[in-house]
Amino acid sequence: MSVTVAPPMTMAEKLMARAAGVDRVAPGELVDCALDGVMVFESFVDSNERLVEAGMPGGIQRLWDPDRVYAMLEHVQPPTSLRAAERAQRLRRLAERLGITHFHNTTSGICHQMMVDHGYVGPGQLVVGSDSHACIYGALNCAGTGIGELDVLYAVTSGELWFMVPEAIRLELTGEAPAWPVAKDVMLHLAGRFGEDFALYRSIEVGGAGVASLSMDARFTIADHGVEVGAKFALFEADETTYDFLRTRVAEEVLDGYRPVAPDAEAHYEQVIEVDLSTLPPQVAVPHEFDAVFPVGEVVGKRIDQAMIGSCANGRFEDIQIAARVLEGRRVDPRVRLLVSPASNDVYRQCIESGVATTLLDAGAQLLDPGCELCLGLRGYLAPGEVALTSTTRNYRGRLGSAEAEIYLANPATVAWSAVNGAISDPREALC
């Protein structure tokens, strides 16, 4: 009798196989997977509405597991219109009617940051969310990915969802991370080099000696931007940094229950990409595509009207702290509006308690409350012809108000230093 040896697997394959309850899966295969969690926000009322329209007047009557559907008011919180207020009211009522255990009514923050702040996401899990940046959970070795409100409807009522097993791309990071938040630059660089759909349907699997020098905040940035290059997942292995982060958020027994995955040594990658963290210069994406990317040196001097730091991509404490370091003892150019929105209440508190908030205010920054609005184009609109440099997620045409505005993307140190100079500038002048 011959013994069958399981073929080597990527992290995505292991996570998909486990969730599907099978020994192995292959790229291209469709599998039904059991979910560990579902994140929803205001748009959950649309999931319910679609079911009403389909002929169930009462809408959703029961959830697969009220403990594992995480609901929060955050995309437009507090409401900025009557419509938003009504949607918030409907979500509150829906959450109460369905007995959702983890419902965040008031403490604000970007949904994904809330999910990790509150310890709702852990290694080895499969968690979906009704927002494209749910791939951020990959930073914690969790297969996270974004879905729409209709898939949410299936997910919250059945606890399962169909997936296609993805091919994997290995991102091999070498060298030590520099003094500026290089994570943004890594993803912009990849988009510029390979195109913004190079990882379409793929799992980006991050490894290499350089990973150890990346903080949790930096890993969140990389995983978050997975979707900007098309990826389904953007996965890191769980290491000491991961567990140090989780330990402050969940009980010991929860920590012990995690089942992290690591790739097999012989796992198959469609492509292996190496990036040296120590030599990568700051990058800037120019309008209107995420893959229209240049080293900062090629765009210095471009006048800006608005500088923005925030979002699930780069609105965490380290992002704001580095901006404060750049701004310390300096003033934002009076022609520039510098808007800073911490990713969550936890991050907000860190900014206040560390003194970072005061530094920002002294420099002339405007500190906004936490939330998605800055990145989503719900606050800080741009008029026709205006130019913004932002550390948020996207520079697509029309995202921040006028379709005739120009949006440039960069890391938060580049944004802060450019705000001081009134024009795009190289942050290494301030930090090195």
Binding site: G159, Y381, Y396, A403
Partner: protein, 184 residues
């Protein structure tokens, strides 16, 4: 619900990486006054890429697009607005992952065809055959074979999308039982 054979006028959306911010700009999505009101968005959908599209669209149209169509945010309005116009299918060179899922979940077939933009001019008549898995340009006679949908995706489309599927399987019903074996 799924039409096995679809013919329709081609509406061409040029370029690659057409994002959901272009298809359904945030400002106009959030301006919508009521739940069912995509009317506010409608005149502004695709505005920066193809102004006046709302007047051009007719029920039964088939949209053809380039690579990575629907990149970016998960907003379902970017699919639903096409359904408001009566679009019966999308042919794209490739689609962003979430956009593809959203289209299928809404019961809108999205067929991926290499070099689709080269296959059609605006106003051509296209024919999509779901049994033969072919896409044909009726004007030029050009024909492409496409990758058949896996059974899961076909079942969702045949049900008319996820909402009818959830209804039919009693997944959201309040009788306290997990009514159906949960397989698509």
């Amino acid at each position: 619900m799924l039409s096995r054979r679809m013919t329709g006028r081609i509406v061409r959306i040029p370029g690659n990486d057409v994002s959901t911010d272009v298809i359904a700009p945030t400002f106009w999505v959030h301006r919508g006054r009521g739940e069912h009101d995509l009317a506010t968005l409608r005149p502004h959908a695709f505005e920066s890429l193809r102004p006046g599209l709302d007047e051009h669209m007719r029920p039964g149209d088939i949209v053809v697009a380039g690579r990575n169509f629907g990149a970016g945010s998960h907003r379902e309005e970017a699919v639903r607005i096409l359904q408001v116009w009566g679009v019966q299918a999308i042919i794209a060179e490739s689609a962003a992952r979430i956009y593809f899922r959203n289209a299928i979940a809404a019961g809108l077939p999205l067929i991926q065809v290499e070099n689709a933009l080269e296959l059609f001019d605006d106003g051509d008549e296209a024919e999509i055959d779901i049994d033969a898995w072919t896409v044909v340009n009726r004007r030029t006679g050009a024909r492409r074979t496409v990758q058949p949908y896996p059974p899961t995706i076909l079942r969702i489309l045949e049900a008319g999308g996820i909402a009818p599927l959830v209804r039919d399987r009693g997944l959201a019903a309040g009788d306290g039982t997990r009514a159906m074996p949960v397989r698509y």
